[in-house]
């Protein structure tokens, strides 16, 4: 008899849909890393991201019998995670981090002096929640604009604009970060 860990996901999903608790735990085991990474990119807070990921799996456990197709499980779970995060943002909106050109120019000096690392998560903090969501789904999850639009209920044009502007801002921030590192190496 095969262990659950060796069984195809569609079979594990079908078992979980019939109330098999061990099968659901196996799904959590398989999907947790990707889901937590996605929520970490979105929330920039590992503890909050893990809490939201747990909420997502709890919702999935409750709603799993309503899943229409076992092959849709991954996309369905991701949509649950996105909705859980959006609910969180609506109930406790994060402080907006506006960035104008002057701040961007000042950023390398500030981060260098504080020895802070402007990594991807820090750069993502400068995007608004929905812009960040679209960028993360496009780059981290490999979703097309159309898929993002249907997963987030945002109009397609808005998604395109969020991805384009968000990408530009991220590129600018990461370039600024690179120049800080270069200065640090030279100095």
């Amino acid at each position: 008899m095969l262990a659950l860990g060796q069984v195809a996901e569609a079979t594990v999903v079908a078992l979980a849909m019939n109330g098999d608790a061990a099968a659901f735990s196996e799904l959590v085991r398989r999907r947790q890393s990707a889901l937590r990474n996605l929520l970490r990119r979105l929330s920039r807070d590992a503890t909050l991201a893990d809490d939201l990921a747990q909420q997502t799996f709890l919702k999935a456990w409750r709603a799993l019998p309503q899943l229409r197709s076992v092959s849709a499980f991954g996309a369905w779970l991701r949509r649950l995670a996105v909705n859980t995060w959006l609910e969180h943002v609506r109930s406790s909106p994060p402080p907006s981090v506006a960035l104008d050109p002057e701040e961007l120019a000042a950023l390398p000096a500030a981060t260098a002096s504080a020895d802070a690392r402007l990594d991807l998560d820090r750069a993502l903090a400068y995007l608004g929640p929905k812009e960040r969501l679209c960028v993360v789904l496009a780059y981290s999850e490999g979703m097309s604009h159309g898929e993002i639009s249907s997963a987030t209920a945002l109009p397609l044009g808005t998604v395109k604009s969020h991805v384009r502007r968000g990408s530009e801002r991220l590129r600018a921030l990461l370039s600024a970060y690179d120049s800080v590192k270069e200065h640090a190496h030279v100095g």
Partner: protein, 84 residues
């Protein structure tokens, strides 16, 4: 993925992905699910609660002494038992 994406950003996102250990997280999710299961009423426990309250009420009325105390006690024990 059909939309044009920036190669440099794709690399940054790929590099930021890290495999996360499952054990503690799976245990936390399982604990939350078990807690939610305990809080969920099923028809049998509702029937059990109602019948025990009715029994307590009958006993209290028959005794005609400290009726409310018996009622509250019976209800409390029943609710407590339903959540076990």
């Amino acid at each position: 993925m059909s939309d044009d994406l920036d190669a440099r950003l794709l690399r940054s996102f790929a590099a930021a992905e890290q495999p996360l250990a499952a054990e503690q997280f799976v245990a936390a999710v399982t604990a939350r699910i078990n807690a939610a299961r305990r809080l969920r009423f099923d028809p049998r426990s509702c029937y059990s609660i109602l019948s025990t309250i009715a029994g307590g009420l009958g006993t209290g009325l028959l005794a005609l002494r400290r009726v409310w105390l018996l009622l509250i006690g019976a209800a409390a024990v029943t609710v407590w038992a339903a959540f076990l």
